[in-house]
Amino acid sequence: MFEGIEELRKKLDSGKLKVKDLAQQAVDASKKVNSKCNAFVTIIDKPKIKENKKSILSGIPYSAKDLFSTKGILTTGSSNALKDYIPFFDATVISRLKKSGAVLTSKSACDEFGLGGTGTTCHTGIVRNPYDENREAGGSSAGSAVAVASGVVPFALGTDTGDSVRKPASFCGIVGYKPTYGLIPRYGVLPFASSLDHVGVFTRSVKDAAIVVDSIKGPDSKDMTALPKTDDLTPLLDGNVEGKRLFYIKEICDIRSYDNPSDELKKSIKLFNEIIEKAKKLGMQVIPESIDQKLLNAIQPTYQVISCAEATSNLSMYTGIIYGPRGNGSNINEMVKDYRAHGFSSLIKRRLVIGSYVLQKENQERYYLNACRVRQMIIDKFNELFTQYDGFITLASGGGAPLFDGKTEVLSNEAVLENHLAIGNFGGFPSITIPAGFINNLPIGINITGKVQDDVNVLNIAYALEKDIKFKGGLHE
């Protein structure tokens, strides 16, 4: 199905479509897509249906990344460490969606515990891009992006620690929205790096993203970082962007900043410039700004240090004592070590060692605390820019989805362009990726980021641009 939520709502309300049939469609489509893209850990054959006539989401099927705790339903974090774990409680967002009558039809695969950006480290195997099965779907929320792009469900839940919603959205040609930090509670979501982790949503339109977020946002007594109640976003979407001011970063989106740009990058930046022209036609001002290259270069290492440090602590709970398969060993330490050695993939283990290293007493100042200082400097710089601008516009990736190259993910110096979305996580800024067009027959997205708690502005800019971009999200076969 490629209808949006509102269309499906109309069909369900008019009786043209039955909730049960819609759910079955989603289940059938999940199976079909899974055989091609390996997007799901669990497909729920007989999804529970409990309608709520007051909610727009009643009867609408959806998929949730396998990091969301689902009562009575396998929740693995796409890791062997939790391959048999069945929670007895729901994540707050899952219980909110349950109340609104939305129908969970699958749990989607992701990079193990959300660490990684390729969708290749899931314990169920690599997730493939629906546009080209030889390519990544992006990560970590790979399966959720595939589910929405393939028309399995109109929306899916993801999590975003560095760009894990917004990057796969770009590679799969759909909308990926990560609201302000704290807008959506994280209780019950398997953690990666708590100060960077956000819940986000995948949809095929900006309005659908607003609709879903409206039904899962709001304070939660179980999450102290959740923000107080805010106005609903959907009613405030009017597409009126006359006079709005956007900036882009010359060092990232100006072709002149690159010494030897690849053909793909040239095309990407050309597409970006076309979008900027569209923005201007809509009455927005788009102005280039310059940011110290050193600060931009520091984004990736800062992200690495902070995310690995928090992950090493967050993943300490996985010992196999209370849940998960038991390890073998004659004493308790051997037992836990065996569990972790077999439960965690190579990538995770390496991340944890790095995280532990940067937190060690003798290294903490130079590694961890300095990374936290750079984080603050980047936040300050963007907050300063946000005093003059309504939003920051940028390419969501330097090109289309990469090929599986056989290499495992190793920490390396990648181009700033591939990592700069982490700015949104550093500052908790609302940030949305929308489809921008195609490069070499692969979808690519642009991203709008705004100041904290100014989600409405960010969504409105995306909403206005979306109307003017011909490519609509989703792979229509």
Partner: protein, 475 residues
Amino acid sequence: MSKYEVVIGLEIHAAVLSNTKVFSPSKNSYSDVPNENINEIDLSFPGIMPSLNKEAVRKALKMSMVLGCVQPDELMFDRKNYYYPDLPKGFQITQVTKPVGINGKVELYVDNHDFTVNIHDIHLEEDTASMDHYDYYTLIDYNRAGTPLVEIVTEPCIHSGEEAVAFLEFLANSLRYCNVSDADMKKGHLRCDVNINLKNENGEFITPRVEIKNVGSISYVLDAVNYEVARQIKAYETGIEELVQETRRFDEATKTTIRMRTKEDAVDYKYFVEPNIPRIKIDKSWLKEIRKEIPSLPNERLKRYIKEYSLSESEAKTLVKDFELSNYYEECIKIGINPKVAFNWLSTNIIGYLNKEFMTIRDFYITPNYLKFIVDKINSGEISSKQGKELFNYCLEEKEEPSILMKKHNLKQMDNSNELEGIIDNILKNNLKLIEDYHNGKTNLFGFFIGEVMKQTKGKANPVIAKQILTDKLK
């Protein structure tokens, strides 16, 4: 010993009284039934997040004030990362960056001298699960996991076992005075680690710091300090044992300390700020409100009882260690009973009665006001001390006001001189031989005559008047 200065620092954990755990809404209470008070947070299921208990914060802040600490304008929490099977998250949430209190100071008095204990900090944290060890396996019970603790860390400023004990007693009493903790060491509500080393006459450290873990009672703290000081001196002077920075435990049977691990095995806890707990603003008016709830404290009371009420140190301690008893005593003094008299009533009559009846002073029938009535009647001579005691007992038996019982049992001294004179004349007339003996130097017979007066008046004779008459007659 005077060649060396003993340097002691204490780290004390106290279990905080509250309805719920510190980061989860499950019940904070001891249970014999394992895993009865648990939820997903206490067991650290994937995705759980802490939600901080306001009452635990309030009590921790109260203790911060009791210890004379500075309270910050905002609180922060940190993670202490280590692996142990009783720690389900793999880290403990505690406070390092901005704890509930820093830089405190407590003035204490022991063995006729004043001394000061400086407090490094007090912080709020969570307890671990409890483990039962069997021959081939260990069982884990999570009832205690996540229950609130306050940890109090002193500066290394304590100079003897006696001072350490005095501080611990003060702390335990204060925790009870403020209803922060039951502070019973035997039940594990209070756990104490003792750090000890020695300085020479020039103030230089001559032995490495030794930490003695989890000493099980206040008196064991004294034993542990004494043993460890002697051990360190001996090792230093003779070199028969190499001294290293280490962790030891106190063996209760032999009253010695035994090595657990040396510094090389020390864990790096990799502390960092807990990202799931935002900063907590501490409202000035909230602090004011909390401060108002703090009663006058045991150290202040102890000193006042000794200096102003002339009680001995041990007498004063008897009262101070029991908050309710001490409050009763304070009330007695406030309404005008002589402090020494009030203490005597408590120590000779009341405490014994309470112990015998397994009762606390809270349920004791004779209020300070009733006691004052009795004491006043004795002082004015309306009743004798003996009658006072009788009246006291009638009150306890009949649960009736002393003014009513005094009338009911006709407790009144006979102070009519004529009547007494008649009785005394009669006694003397029947004991002429003894009068002779008395005049021949057996002056202790005076007591016999008074006794006779009391016997014949059934103890109602006013002894002052009776003595006066008898003295005159025997001239």
